[in-house]
Every structure is written in structure tokens, then in C-alpha cells.
């Protein structure tokens, strides 16, 4: 089933320059299996325009303590690939928000790459981010993703050379994920992100010319986001959102707290 127009492409085509696209990362099955669909719908209501739904893996070696924790909890909750597809299917009954599945290659490979791409496409997934598939290893998945209308999004990092950025731009579909700092995922303190990022951003602008550019890693507030994403198409928040869930769950009204945080990321200057 090939969609006539990929939702990610539509999002960036229709966006106006007055605001940045906000993409949020959420671990599927965290903090419990029942909440994921409601969370996605609520995040959309509060300003999210793109969802990166994390497929938990037992050994997330590019992730810091926050996403290690959410992944472990989700696995303990009994998350499965089928459950993730069902969650996406549920969201699709009520929303057209672009959804990207993000996770390590091993669970995908174990499910069967061809079968995975087919079922993801059918469920209404729009793209994939597989952080441990660099372009050199992409041949195992590219055709299957293409056949099922899934945009394969690649990452660039501060130590990616200019030439390599251009190669990645040529292969990436949907957008290019610009990792603003070296290191694992996780919210970062103070102005660590802003300081190191300027030179990187200017290289990104110069070399990533065919795709929209989303910046992420370490963003935890509206101010962070505005500063870092000034020259980008949008920003990605993950660990700070998971930390907020962790702080409030399961107290009564925890989702409202989470949604208020998300709203502030997108709109609030305070």
C-alpha cells in the first residue's frame, strides 16, 4: 500500500516560517501499555506535529539513563512489535499526525525486516529512524522501506564531515536528524547545548540542502528549542519529556502535567 503523499513530506511542505516544527519522542509502552495512544493524541493537541515512537530495546547503547529506564519499563510491561503497530493503528483512527518509529535494528531484524516494513506501513507509520544503521549498512532495509512508503531518516552529528553530511542528505528521506552534541541521549544542563552547537549548525546549513533539518539531543525547554532551532526547520525533544512523565506518573492528573510541559515547549516563553 503506497500512500499518495507521505505525511512527513506534507508537514514540511505546508509549514510556514513563523514557527518551528516540534517533534516529540515517546517510548511505546511507557509508562504503561494503556497510556501510549492517549499520550500521542494529547501531545498533538498541545503542539506536537511529529511523533517519534520509540521501539524499546534491552540494550540501547546510544541512550542515556532516561531512555534506558523508559525502555526497561516498557519491556517489563510486555511491549511487543505487534502492540506497537496496534497503537499506531489506534492513533490513525483519530489523527493524521506523522508517526516515525525509532529504535535499534535488532528487534526489527528479529521481526523480519520485510515483514516489519510492510506491517508498519499498513498500520499507518510514515517513517523510520534506526540509529544503528548508518548509510553503509542501509542496503538491508532501504528497498523494503521504500516499497511501503516509509521515509528512512538518517542522523548527522557534530563530528560528521561536510562530505559525509552531503552523502547522508542524499540518502535521507523526510528530514535529516541533526544531533547537536556528541554523547548519548538525555536532557543537558545549562548552556552546554547552545555553546557547542553554533559551528555545527552552520555546517548543517551549508551541507544539508535537500531535506528539512530537525535538531535534537539535550533540549529541555522553550528557550533551548528556540535558540538551537533558529536556523532549523524544527526541534526534537525526548528525554526531557520522558523525565516529566517519570516525575508525575502515576499521581492523579499526571497526563495534564505532561501536556502542560509540552505546551510550554512549543508556545510558552516563561
Amino acid at each position: 500500500m503506497i500512500k499518495t503523499q507521505n505525511r512527513i513530506a506534507t508537514l514540511f511542505e505546508e509549514r510556514d516560517d513563523s514557527s518551528k516544527v516540534m517533534s516529540l519522542f515517546l517510548t511505546a509502552g511507557y509508562p504503561d501499555l494503556e497510556s501510549t495512544v492517549d499520550l500521542i493524541l494529547g501531545l498533538e493537541e498541545n503542539g506536537a506535529e511529529l511523533i517519534e515512537l520509540g521501539m524499546p530495546f534491552s540494550d540501547p547503547l546510544a541512550d542515556g539513563p532516561t531512555i534506558q529506564h523508559s525502555s526497561n519499563v516498557a519491556i517489563e510491561n510486555g511491549i511487543t512489535m505487534n502492540a506497537i503497530f496496534e497503537m499506531v493503528g489506534e492513533v490513525r483512527k483519530q489523527s493524521e499526525i506523522p508517526i516515525i518509529l525509532m529504535g535499534y535494528i535488532n528487534p526489527v531484524m528479529r521481526y523480519g525486516i520485510e515483514r516489519f516494513c510492510k506491517e508498519a506501513g499498513e498500520a499507518g507509520v510514515d517513517g523510520l529512524i534506526i540509529p544503528d544503521i548508518p548509510i553503509e549498512e542501509s542496503q538491508i532495509i532501504t528497498d523494503h522501506a521504500d516499497d511501503n512508503g516509509l521515509s528512512l531518516v538518517y542522523l548527522v552529528a557534530p563530528n560528521t564531515s561536510d562530505e559525509r553530511m552531503r552523502q547522508i542528505d542524499a540518502q535521507s528521506k523526510g528530514f535529516v536528524y541533526c544531533v547537536s552534541v556528541t554523547g548519548v541521549t538525555g536532557a543537558r544542563e545549562g548552556d552546554e547545548v547552545a555553546r557547542s552547537v553554533q559551528r555545527f549548525i552552520s555546517r548543517v546549513k551549508e551541507n544539508i540542502t535537500q531535506n528539512p533539518k530537525m535538531v535534537g539531543f539535550g533540549i529541555k525547554s522553550y528557550d533551548d528549542a528556540q535558540r538551537i532551532a533558529a536556523d532549523m526547520d524544527g526541534f526534537i525533544v525526548g528525554s526531557a519529556l520522558i523525565d516529566t512523565i517519570r516525575e508525575h506518573y502515576p499521581a492523579e492528573g499526571w497526563k495534564d502535567e505532561v501536556f502542560a510541559f509540552v505546551h510550554s515547549l512549543k508556545y510558552d516563553k516563561s
Partner: protein
Amino acid sequence: MNYDLPTKSGYFGRFGGKFVPEILMPVLEELEEAYDEAWQDESFRDEYLDLLHNYVGRPTKLTFANRLTEHYGRAKIYLKREDLCHTGAHKINNAIGQILLARRMGKDRIIAETGAGQHGVATATACAKFGVECIVYMGAEDMERQKLNVERMRLLGAEVRSVESGSQTLKDATNEAIRDWVTNVEDTFYIIGSVVGPHPYPKMVRNFHRIIGDETKNQLTEAEGRNPDYLLACVGGGSNAMGIFYPFVDDESVKMYGLEAAGLGADTDQTAATLTIGEPGVLHGSLSYLLHDKEGQIQLAHSISAGLDYPGIGPEHAHLKDSGRVTYVGITDKQAMEGVKLLSELEGIIPALETAHAVNYLDELMPKTSKDEVVVLNCSGRGDKDMGTISKNL
């Protein structure tokens, strides 16, 4: 040599590759270039060999095991004595090679993961010898069962960081080392302890250990005038086994056996028999056989021996299994304990628990051999570090 793997992109058949986050790609490229260049450079080789001779104590002996041979009454058995290496195991060959490379690349912060602590000790030793900062990641459970090695590393000036995540063993220590690496890519060199990880590590670590096989070939030619009929080695990640196997891969008359840890049994869930029951998958940067469930979540391995307690295996072994060149067999905890006793009582050599897995396979193999044949067993390490576990299980 006909056997010429890995390919340029780091594949052994369908296994290997570089399944790592983008941040590590430039680092691996830099490493590959530096390694290839160093390995061709005579002055690098001279320095490496000089340290192996005058510091590590190479060449290690090839000992004729006369009482063990009499015990079975069949083929002659020789032991390749890696237990005699400085620090007590083969691991130091690789640690020395990699630290020389790190220095050549101008990286002055060394990190490593360790299971049994042997690779950690070897790395801490090499760092002390060169006066370089050393951080070793070790699972909290392993720190408990290999206390002596923790003390050794600290005495050698290394910082040992306890890893509390996951199963608190080697796989989690490796995750944590990789996280450190992606955070400190600029100045940090990751000394991986076995033939695992992304390309070029499996190739590089194998080549730093091939001296085991090269020496064996020369020593056995001198003693017997020929190549062995059988090679035996234990397999955790697979470095001591690749070291002794590699120079013989092209000689089809040499039969090779890799002995992996079956724990309580390869048919139980308390096992580390990756090649016996594993399925292909990606862990720590390469595609190989793995212990994982049907959702692709890595399963906890179990072995009495911390050095074999790992749910993965080097990609070259995965290939050698599929090609049929090497036979891999699981040995249980209990059998390994019998191996410890046998070698101690008959040869006066207390083997590491890892090595003991290979020793026990003699029970299975020897009745099928004949008197005019020769078996070489790679005695990968000595058992001092395991005395706590050994006395509990005797």
C-alpha cells in the same frame, strides 16, 4: 593465504559490519586507517613484538602434556601456554597492540570493558606501562565474583566503574563503555577485549592474537614436524580461539573445535551457548549469532565463568560455524569444573574456568583420535582469579 576475510566493509560472509550510531562512524574510519597503516609499518610491528617478548614473556611455551596424553591413551596432547603470559591470560597480546595504536593516534584516555577482569587487568597493565589514564567498566555482579581482579586493576592505577544496569555483567559493561565512547570521541580510545564489536575491531583483535597460532605452528613443526590434527579453544567473544585458529584456517587437515559455555545446559535458559542455540542479530555493533527472545530483546547469559558469560559472539566465529570450518560445542558449568580438576591433577596447571571448558572436551574428542595424531589445546589463562568460585564448586 586463500582465506581473506573480512571484506573491505568488514564482513565475514553474512556477519560483521558496522552497526553503530553516526557519531562513531568517523571514529571507526579513523581507527581503520590508523590500524591498517600501523600494521604495515615495520617500526610499529617491532615495538609490538619487542613488548611481547620482553614484557609479556613471549613466545609462550608449547608444553607436551604427557600425563594427560597417557590418561586418554590416544593422540598426543600439547598445551599452548597463554596462562604464562604476564597477567595470566592471552588478553594482554591485544591490550599491548591496541595501546600502541592509541598512542600512535594521539589518544590519551583509554576505556575498556571487562567480564572476568582479565581484559581489564591486561588493559590496566598496559596503561600503567605507558602512563596513560585508564577507565574500566565492569558489571556489578562480575565485580563481586572477580574481586581479586578488581583489586589488581585498582592497584595498577585504573578506575573501575561499576555497571549497575541490565544483567550487571559483560554485555552491560560493554554498553556502558560504548556510551562513554560516544560521549568522549575526541580523546578516547576504546580497547575492546575480544573479537567483537564493529569493524575493524574483530579483524584487529584477531590479528593482535594471531601470534598464538603463529608460534604454535613453529613450535609444533619443531617438536613433531607437522601441523596439529586438532585445535581446541574456549570461546567467549572468541579472541583466544581466533588467535590460535587463524593461521591454520587454510589447512583443511586441521580440525578445529570452539568450546562455548553451556552453563546449566544449552537446553535451559541458564546458558551462554550462543553458537549452539543463538539466532542472528545485532549487538554491540556487529551482526552475529545472539541469544535473544522472539521480540529481539537480548537474553541474559549464564556461565560459571565470567569470561564466557556473554550473549554474543565474534562475527568471524559465526561465519566459521556457518561455513562448517569450525565445530562449536557447548560445555556445562559442571563439565568445566571437571576440566579444572583434570588439568590441575594431571599436569600441575590450574586453568582458568574459561580454559577448563576446552579441557573438558578432551573426554569427548580423545576416544576418536589415534596415537599418531596431535591435539593442541589453547590454555588461554590460569585459574588463580577463579579460586573463589572453584573452591565453592568443587
